[in-house]
Symmetry: C2
Subunit: 340 residues, 2 copies
Amino acid sequence: MAHDDRRLRVLRAIVQDYVSTNDPVGSKALAARYDLGVSPATIRNDMAVLEEEGYITQPHTSAGRVPTDKGYRFFVDRLSAIKPLSAAERKAIEKFLDGAVDLHDVLGRSVRLLAQLTRQVAVVQYPTLARSAVRHLELVPLSTSRLLMVLITDTGRVEQRVVEVPVDTEADTVAELRTLLNAAFTGAKLGEASDKVGDLVDASAPHLRPLVAAVSATLLETLVEPSEDRLVIGGTANLAQGSALDFPGTFRPLLEALEEQVVVLRLMAEVGPSTVTVSIGEENEHEALTAASFVSVGYGSGDQALGGLGVVGPTRMDYAGNIAAVRAVARYVGHLLAES
Amino acid sequence: MAHDDRRLRVLRAIVQDYVSTNDPVGSKALAARYDLGVSPATIRNDMAVLEEEGYITQPHTSAGRVPTDKGYRFFVDRLSAIKPLSAAERKAIEKFLDGAVDLHDVLGRSVRLLAQLTRQVAVVQYPTLARSAVRHLELVPLSTSRLLMVLITDTGRVEQRVVEVPVDTEADTVAELRTLLNAAFTGAKLGEASDKVGDLVDASAPHLRPLVAAVSATLLETLVEPSEDRLVIGGTANLAQGSALDFPGTFRPLLEALEEQVVVLRLMAEVGPSTVTVSIGEENEHEALTAASFVSVGYGSGDQALGGLGVVGPTRMDYAGNIAAVRAVARYVGHLLAES
DNA sequence: GCTGGCACTCGGTCCGCGCGAGTGCCAGGC
DNA sequence: GCCTGGCACTCGCGCGGACCGAGTGCCAGC
């Protein structure tokens, strides 16, 4: 009804106002700045209801209202149209990401870009190995009993491991082994590599078997932590902005949690491609993030995300803008990775 | 003389006290806590001299004294014995760095370790490519006109670049090319690679020449920014510690400068192996660092540093401890890199 | 040349007060 | 029935003054 509708508009106005001014917002200010068509007194009544329902709260008596996590959640869920980026912004994105020479460069630029667009802390995950495919597997002899295995994926990741081989190995054997392994693995998703290993060992010539087994084992090891998950973080300077205002006490725990990576990776694990996930304040399980919001999305062209990226900031953030920015950057990153 | 000697002891006591308490230190407190053998009044006289000479200063009248940059410099230059790390600390270092699987892992652990030992922001530079030697050069055909060049160095760095080749190329040709390039470059320092390129092109079979030229050019491109210099930063949370106390205004500019990397890299460019460099406050050219000190050293077993590492913190830091920690970690990193 | 004493300075903290923003409630009007 | 204007009330914030104490510089005496 018209009733609820107005209340929604009031809530929206409160969120917008608070996000931009960082001051608890009162009924008079609302009436003055937003064309709600009613008097402050009416707005007060609505605000009382909104407060009772838990969408807003007063920091103290005789102060204005501030959205609660629930209020932000409601607001975010009703964000009808994602505001598209301006032409200038799109231009900036292209210009920023263009000319990246490799994966590291692409992700480094992305994180800087995202931090700059949103003025928040940006986080970009490397493409997961499990969902990448083998482009090439290289073996470099280090000594007769040690090989350097270098895995190159189609997403541009490179992992290297030293393999201790059980028997002394000559150059010819290594070449044989390399050919065999590449024939078997090139083009295969790493997540499915473990299925192939058994058969591959059985099917190899006897003198290669222990070698195939050793290298395959090392290959599979790259799929577990810590190498599997890597993260680039940027824009932490943005935290120092209104830190005192936005984060009670200090934001040290937040920085620590970000450096831990684990926390962020867990959040990122849930993201799907093209659907932006927003988790707000107390919705975050980790304690250090209960005053923060996390906007994230997967990137990658297929149906399954190769990795995730997002921004972390105070719950008092420009959700519409950040969602748009995160989505746009993810799309570009997806394209760039598909291209190379 | 005994005179100057006592004054030095007073300065040292002031530095130590201020570092540990973060309070401007007065004559009475000094006399009480440090066994200087004289009364507060005498200390006051010494302090007046030290202030006149520019080693200490008062934040305001009726406050205690605080060391100036010059005071810290003097103190650092007279740090007679570097206090060795405790056995427990050495143990911790070994334990922390042990089991690293690759370069990324080694440097990531080092930066965390250093941040933890010093409670400052830690910075670790990747080994410079120019001073690394080629371990292997791999070429993976992407299409008939594009090759993926993967450079693997003896320091564990891996760089990849797409090479657009001028003519369509078949698998056999690529194999030839790979053999040729590896024969030429394997074991060579990258810094000296440019000398070889000319001769190599001339000496190659005519059908390979444009390919050799293209790949060599790309190889040399890896030696310039931005790929040449990479940095890992950790422990930024430590900045949030006493930030308000240690950094006037906010420490935002400092975080920004760290993220820029360029500033730190320039500082790092000057470090030599085994000689710890300390630059204090205003000695740093970059404005954001004028309230900070930087303790750095090169790592690497040879006579020339492969890269640098260090810590950044307020001028009010435990120089002796940080120097010891930085040096110890650098030594371990050097060993680890030499091993693999 | 060191020491104890003394007067002085001045920043930090606490307290009390007035201001103003903002609220809740109520009676009246569309 | 819902909105509106009016009104009394609450309470955080900012300001100014007073107090306190740490610390200093100076000086006379040992």
